[in-house]
Amino acid sequence: MSILVIAEHDNATLKASTRNTLTAALKLGSTVEVLVAGHNCQAAAQAAAVLAGVAKVKVADAASLAEGFAENLAALVVSMAAGYTHILAPATTYGKNFLPRVAALLDVAQISEISAVVDANTFIRPIYAGNALATVESSDGVKVITVRTTAFDAATDGGSAGIESVGAPADLGCTSLVGRELSVSERPELGAAKVIVSGGRGLGNGDNYQQVLAPLADKLGAALGASRAAVDAGFVPNDYQVGQTGKVVAPQLYIAIGISGAIQHLAGMKDSKVIVAINKDADAPIFQVADYGLVGDLFEVVPQLTAAL
């Protein structure tokens, strides 16, 4: 019996989340296979084959899988589920989208966003915006799991697995792509960044956000993040949102600027190694989790900080 990891990729390269998911899978057993489902995705399959610990890569290459739509992807995974004890995907919008369909079609629970593996049947997962950690045990025949990527190290290269083709089921034809507006940025990916500079409502508007935070992020080689309030107000796009219902991050250094520290925001960043808070309100809850707090007006302090680096 083996464990199946479903790779997140863009056909050419693997997303970092695949590496974290693999690390979680390797805690469950030693025979871990990776499924690369996509179109013209041989390069991604090659990248999966050299990950340390992978026993085999299965590639499903079909036009119906090109856009990663949940319906076709779930049908594929269900068609090949027999023989696996665990099926894992990252708890990113990619994994969260299709994996519950797999679980429902297999008539098993999905164990969402695990942050630790206790044993092959027992997992820890955050609930209530991370204010509690539940230890849950599954009695299902196959465990269908999404993985909190920040809770597991990234698997490294060093393997040389064989690559095998698998057929894709017929296109369900119910979904079509209209368009994508993907953020293009030279900066590191939020989920994998070592340093994050994050801004909230205190920035006032999108221009301020860019003028004040971008130079600091440039100096630090950091990714930019935001609170929900900053996204709702249109300062930055939706994919900047850190929190319970946005992205969960755990960089070496998280600098929260003009962010009050609501529980929903803390849920997404409180596992960062070092937290810095800059806020003019000395009573802001963010200071309760900050390693270094600086009370002051961000419009004065942040340019000073940028200059001092």
Partner: protein
């Protein structure tokens, strides 16, 4: 237009409450805690009601699965504009797969053309039920919606994804799950709260729907996350830079 929209809603701990783990580690303490409609479900109700107001939908039916007290959440949905409501009543602890199965049974009775649910319940943070319902129905899904347009038996939905935005078209019937930017839910007015009291609310016993709702996951314990304690206040930028360089060694 004859589109019927079913809106599954969940009664959860209010988002302002910071829950506490029980001393015996069996769960979180929900005694005397304020309960509200899951915020994503308010967004779902709002969207469905707007589609009705725009003449796109004919009827909005709110449904919840849970204990008797969930009736108040259904009344709240009707005060926002849902036409009627269904409580699938049970005292059993419901997990997402069980809810999806109950909702499937309701879909078979009601034959909606569209289901609009929340992307995530803020108590279990599962983010599963809508996708599971769509799979069980053999329907397409459009999760994490920030814009919905219904025309020509299709839903064109802009989705909030990790890399930005993605717009897809799905055939109806379908399940749409809401994200934060889809709309801003209205507050119920007093006259509408009064009106909601007279709207129909049907109660179905979960047991009468003939589906297996037994939990699949057993909770062994619930614990406090590691506490993060407040560090120090620095007096100025120079001190901050010094600490980051020489104490934390992160820059």
């Amino acid at each position: 237009m004859s589109l019927k929209i079913l809106v599954p809603i969940k009664r959860v701990v209010d988002y302002n409450v910071k829950v506490r783990v029980k001393a015996d580690n069996s769960g979180v303490d929900l005694a005397n805690v304020k309960m509200s409609m899951n915020p994503f479900d308010e967004i779902a109700v709002e969207e469905a009601v707007r589609l009705k107001e725009a003449g796109v939908a004919a009827e909005v039916v709110a449904v919840t699965c849970g204990v008797t007290a969930c009736q108040e959440t259904l009344r709240a949905a009707m005060a926002m504009g849902a036409d009627r409501a269904i409580l699938v009543e049970t005292d059993v602890e419901l997990q997402p797969l069980a809810v999806a199965k109950l909702l499937k049974a309701v879909c078979e009775k009601e034959q909606p053309g569209l289901v609009v649910c929340g992307k995530q319940a803020i108590d279990d943070d599962a983010n599963q039920t809508g996708q599971m319902l769509a799979a069980l129905q053999g329907w397409p899904q459009a999760t994490f919606a920030s814009k919905v347009v219904i025309a020509d038996s299709k839903a064109t939905v802009t989705r909030e994804v990790d890399g930005g935005l993605e717009t897809i078209a799905v055939t109806l019937p379908a399940v749409i799950s809401t994200d934060l930017r889809l709309n801003e839910p209205r507050y119920a007015t007093l006259p509408n709260i009064m009106k909601a009291k007279k709207k129909p609310l049907d109660v179905l016993a979960a047991a009468s729907l003939g589906v297996d709702i037994a939990p699949r996951l057993a909770t062994r314990s619930v614990n406090e996350p590691p506490k993060r304690s407040a560090g120090i206040r620095v007096g100025d930028v120079a001190q901050l830079v010094d600490k980051l360089k020489n104490e934390a060694k992160v820059i």
